[in-house]
């Protein structure tokens, strides 16, 4: 059975071009980039090129890029650097809908390290409460960390605007752009952010490689103390092959950006319109105006997410659900809860996240599978009768 992969916000296929670029460095070109002979330096040169490509994607300088192992490491390193740089400041700001890499770190800093944290709420469309955000900024604030775009709903935050305000107040600004990278244009200089996280496996590079942008002049203490790698900021022999893959993936992401915002967007919109049209009691979560071009978070009244996913899986369709049916807790995700999405559709929320590898035929198969699947589950549901919620 062919797989229809529409879970690209979770992870992506490694692009063939990326694999080709990496292959020689698994084999004959195994030198250590730090060694003092040409055989190693050839690898070193390749890493410098990769660093340049990552920088190019976000309009940074190459020496502003630190390679890390994952988005979580980038996020943690950024926040730790910020609070080390300003030990006297004891207040932090983030949002209620961040990825666990930020959310749980901030909770930890609040619970165990005595920081006061403002978790800025969002409205029903997933948009930040700007009043609370601005009024909570103070001289005591060490860092503000906001995601560029939300992984579940795709809602985009006004990063440029907030970064500017933060800058005026002398507050460091970090953005977790893991989900936004490769989907919308990112220009760190124009946006005025101090630090930015991005991750390889969301943009068709392998898992286990990521990067952190650190603006020149920002105090950034070493967080893996060891050798001189990454300008002494993160010691340890480079994950050479993956870094080379990440470089290629960034080059491709830049090339594909227009495609993402035309063809992929059109596919997503097609899927959305079809589902809204063909399945009653359906609603889209998040601000449809300011949203990633590839993401659709859609809730079906009176049915439950895992059951929908299992029926999709029967046809080889990969998507993810908006409820956390992974533990005894059956609660909808913290993002949907923060947006006050009603229970009736939150439990039945499915996220489709596309890439340029998807096709219109695939969207038709998804629609063709979902329509009877939802119908079937509703036939069984005690909350659905005569075509509506009861």
């Amino acid at each position: 059975m062919d797989v229809i992969y529409t879970d690209n916000n979770a992870t992506t296929k490694v692009a063939d071009e990326v694999i080709r670029e990496m292959l020689p460095y698994f084999g004959e070109l195994y030198g250590n980039p730090s060694s003092m002979y040409a055989f190693g330096d050839e690898v070193g040169r390749k890493i410098r090129k990769a660093r340049q490509k990552v920088a190019d994607l976000i309009n940074a300088d190459p020496d502003e890029i630190v390679f890390t192992s994952c988005g979580t490491e980038s996020d943690n390193a950024a926040i730790n650097a910020a609070i080390t740089a300003f030990p006297e400041k004891k207040h932090l700001i983030t949002s209620e809908v961040e990825h666990p890499a930020i959310r749980n770190l901030f909770k930890y800093l609040a619970d165990k390290k005595g920081y006061e944290v403002t978790f800025v709420p969002v409205d029903k469309k997933g948009r930040l409460d700007m009043d609370i955000l601005y009024s909570s900024m103070s001289e005591n604030t060490a860092v503000i960390s906001l995601m560029w775009a939300n992984n579940e709903t795709g809602v985009i935050f006004p990063i440029e605007e907030v970064a500017k305000k933060a800058g005026e107040k002398g507050i460091l600004f970090h953005t977790d752009a893991v989900q936004a990278t490769g989907k919308v244009a990112i220009d760190v200089k124009k946006a005025g952010v101090d630090m930015l996280s991005l991750s390889g496996h969301k943009i068709h590079a392998p898992k286990g490689v990521a990067a952190l942008y650190v603006k020149k002049g920002i105090k950034f203490p070493a967080f893996l103390i060891g050798g001189h790698q990454e300008s002494g900021r993160r010691g340890g022999t480079e994950n050479t092959v993956s870094i080379i893959g990440l470089g290629k993936a960034c080059e491709l992401a830049k090339e594909h950006l227009p495609l993402m915002n035309t063809e992929v967007r059109a596919l997503r919109d097609y899927l959305e319109t079809q589902l809204l049209e063909k399945i009653p009691g359906t609603s889209v979560n998040g601000d449809r105006e300011s949203r990633l071009p590839n993401t659709l978070s859609i809730g079906f009244d009176a049915v439950e997410g895992e059951s929908i996913l299992m029926l999709l899986d029967q046809k080889g369709i990969c998507a993810s659900s908006g409820s956390a049916c992974t533990s005894g807790s059956l609660d909808p995700s913290h993002v949907l809860m923060a947006m006050e999405v009603p229970f009736k559709s939150a439990h039945g929320t499915i996220r489709f996240s596309l890439s340029h590898y998807n096709t219109k035929e695939e969207m038709d198969t998804i629609v063709g599978t979902l329509v009877p699947a939802i119908e079937r589950l509703r036939m069984m549901s005690p909350f659905w009768k005569d075509g509506k919620m009861v």
Partner: protein
């Protein structure tokens, strides 16, 4: 992905006895939309108190559907007295087991069955005895103690897997922990004496 047995998958994909049962004379309902799962059980009981037909409607995950389907298969043909003895473990066993995080689906089946039997016999299920611990899922301390004892539960997580208590807002977690510790200490003392 959950490690579901083939039997669970089979009962999810082709559930038996789905829908409202015409002529049902006993109905048991449990769960709610906010909890994330719910089950409505319909029984047709003859004058000898034998269950001649059963059906269900479920809102929930694959194991909730499978558990409901299994339950109706198990109890069809039983007398109400026999059915009253069916436990959540019987439901899970029928399915070849459930992931431990999904045990509450089988517990939901047992609860709906109890309510349906009470409904047929015209017994009102009175306010539950004991002190309310988890308001999100309507679970009392006595129910937790009972579950800890009969199923040998050891942690708060086990309790949540079985009864869902603690799986919502989480404000009852500390109290559940206390009850688990107390109950286990008591049981241990009894064994030692």
């Amino acid at each position: 992905m959950w490690d579901y047995t083939d039997k669970v998958k089979e009962h999810f994909l082709n559930p038996k006895n789905v829908g409202e049962l015409e002529g049902a004379n006993a109905v048991g309902e449990t769960g709610s939309l906010s909890c994330g799962d719910a089950l409505k059980l319909f029984l047709k009981v003859n004058e000898n108190e034998r269950i001649i037909d059963a059906s269900f409607m479920t809102f929930g995950c694959a194991s909730a559907v499978a558990s409901s389907s299994a339950l109706t298969e198990i109890i069809k043909g039983m007398t109400l007295d026999e059915a009253a003895k069916v436990t959540n473990d019987d439901i899970a066993d029928f399915l070849g087991g459930l992931p431990k995080e999904k045990m509450h689906c089988s517990v939901m089946g047992q609860a709906a069955l109890k309510k349906a039997i009470a409904d047929y016999r015209g017994i009102q299920i009175l306010e539950k005895p004991g002190e309310m611990v988890c308001e999100c899922f309507d679970v009392t301390d006595l129910e937790i103690i009972e579950a800890v004892k009969t199923n040998g539960l050891e942690t708060v997580e086990d309790v949540t897997n079985y009864l869902k208590a603690g799986g919502g807002c989480g404000k009852c977690l500390d109290r559940i922990e206390e009850i688990v510790v107390e109950t286990r200490n008591e049981t241990a003392e009894k064994i030692n004496n």
